[in-house]
Symmetry: C2
Subunit: 337 residues, 2 copies
């Protein structure tokens, strides 16, 4: 076997808040030997996700922090080059925990899903069929319980999850209104992502009034990725028995100390709301069925997926910060050259 090089993006300093390029280092080492029961994957595309911020720092998250001087934890899609595991064979494509690196030697449980490379472009397995689309589908349908004619409000509506929530709401016969941070993204989301109206929250001095105006009948579902002032205003538009889906808390740069906000208990009580947290990795058993449904929607032309693909591993270190600046267009993905 020829000696293969593995280029890695390692976490080398512990960030406070949002990881920046300087917290990472590009390192090349030989590809490790493929042990008994292991597989070797050549990564084709690497995912950039908001959750990586939590994985990189040690604020006490829902998963252990990435150890320093190891490849940054990341989802990726790639091809199996060698397999010493009976359930996989060389040539198969897989999606899973393969990290920010060109090659990954892993146990089979690092694989989340086998990928059909012919159904949709391979990168779609990190967007529509990755945790973004799967989160949108499983959270919106599993916790939102949407019914035709209902009203849906979505924060970060042009983002990697929100862009699918609007389309899924439209497919479900709901009226979706979205929030985003620029006129350009608002136009994009209204044109492409199923939203009947969009709000540019940076364009408003009285956000509660603007949201009420855009949602004159209130909202049955609020799909939130923010947990800040936008959410505070949105929650006050909920209709009786409304459902709030907490999928992220991007509005808060830090939780130490815990930020304060207007209490929601009276809204929860008097409107009989149901406010639920959603983390996609609780739902791995549902991935295959959701991906099948989302592939059908895409092949039927009912759902689009926009991706911004950064060309080359050297773009990974700055990618999380780029994501939090919000200046990407579609799901941010790094192509492995």
């Amino acid at each position: 076997m020829p000696l293969r090089e593995n280029r890695q993006v390692r976490l080398v300093a512990r960030p406070r808040g949002i990881p920046q390029a300087e917290h990472f280092s590009l390192v090349t080492e030989p590809v490790a030997a493929v042990g008994k029961g292991e597989i070797l994957i050549q990564n084709r595309y690497l995912s950039v996700d908001p959750a990586q911020r939590g994985w990189a720092n040690d604020e006490g998250n829902y998963s252990a922090p990435v150890p320093l001087n190891t490849p940054m934890r990341a989802l990726a899609v790639g091809e199996i080059l060698e397999s010493n595991a009976p359930e996989f064979r060389a040539g198969e494509f897989v999606y899973g925990w393969f990290g920010w690196q060109t090659h990954c030697v892993a146990a089979p449980d690092a694989v989340l899903r086998r990928v059909q490379p012919s159904a949709l472009p391979l990168s779609a397995n990190l967007s529509l069929l990755g945790i973004n689309g799967l989160t949108a589908y499983l959270a919106f349908h599993g916790l939102g319980d949407p019914k035709p004619g209902e009203h849906v409000l979505v924060s970060t509506a042009a983002g990697s999850v929100g862009s699918f929530v609007g389309q899924l709401a439209h497919i479900a016969g709901c009226r979706a209104v979205g929030l985003t941070g620029s006129a350009e993204k608002a136009a994009l989301a209204q044109a492409r992502y199923g939203y009947q109206a969009m709000i540019n929250y940076r364009d408003s001095t009285d956000l509660p009034a603007v949201i009420r105006e855009a949602c004159p009948e209130g909202n049955d579902i609020f799909f939130d990725n923010t947990g800040g002032a936008i959410a505070d205003a949105a929650i006050r538009t909920m209709r009786l028995h409304g459902r709030i889906i907490q999928c992220g808390t991007a509005a808060n740069a830090s939780w130490t100390p815990v930020p304060t906000g207007p209490r929601a208990e009276r809204e929860i009580l008097t409107r009989r709301l149901r406010w639920s947290g959603f983390i996609i990795f609780d739902h791995i058993a549902e991935f295959e069925a959701a991906a099948t449904r989302l592939t059908e929607f895409a092949l039927d032309g009912k759902i689009v997926h926009d991706e911004e693909i950064l060309p080359g591993l050297e773009h990974a270190p700055g990618a999380i910060a780029q994501l939090y600046r919000g200046d990407n267009h579609g799901k941010l993905i790094v192509a492995v050259d």
Copy 2:
């Protein structure tokens, strides 16, 4: 038919915050004629409930405020003296919206439930079998989804609802810890209401630490009637997939302006909590089945119900303020003399 006198406690001034005795007036008028399809009820016991605060003021609640110079809205249990409604007959006992008055002429839809006067003492229909016991049963089981061995934390644990939640948790095989505001109530709740441990929140300078100490394994269910500092600390003890039941917001004297508190979004997200509001009047169709079950528990000696019965209608005007001071022992009820 002899002319009957109806003594009423009318709301005569619009309170801000908690209604006091001076907001009510005792008025006597002749009992109204019983029209076609109506029934005349002689009230035996009148309920005093925290929700009456909301009904008396006009803060924008989940029900319209009580009009001034009309009998205070209240639940009551009484005997039908006359019926012009085919579904009721004189001599039946009923529970429903009969107000703070000795007599009530009402349409049949004012009745929430027919009462079996022989099963338990008549006043129990305002406590164990009234909205307090029904709330405890339907909220705890309907939203809490308790499983044997789970950990349950209850605020206002010695109160009219909490005293039943502890017992229902015990019956369900859960470990219940309660919060209350005096050593006397803590002892009572631990002795009688199914709690394995009690916390007197007035006795602590570091409530979060005391709650963590009393709940070393965290909590699967938090049954909250407060929505203030106690709840903030309690929410931070929730286990993965925990359920928060919001049944009241008694810690907040006013919602104008909206009080602030530490944000819970990160707790909701990372622990995948489900936080739901509960209002008993959404569940009228379930009353009969719940009352049957609660009666069985009481007859089997598995559940106790404590009541503080004020002797005479003249005690009603000050009763809501007494409830909010927390110096009642058991469900506060006014006996109609």
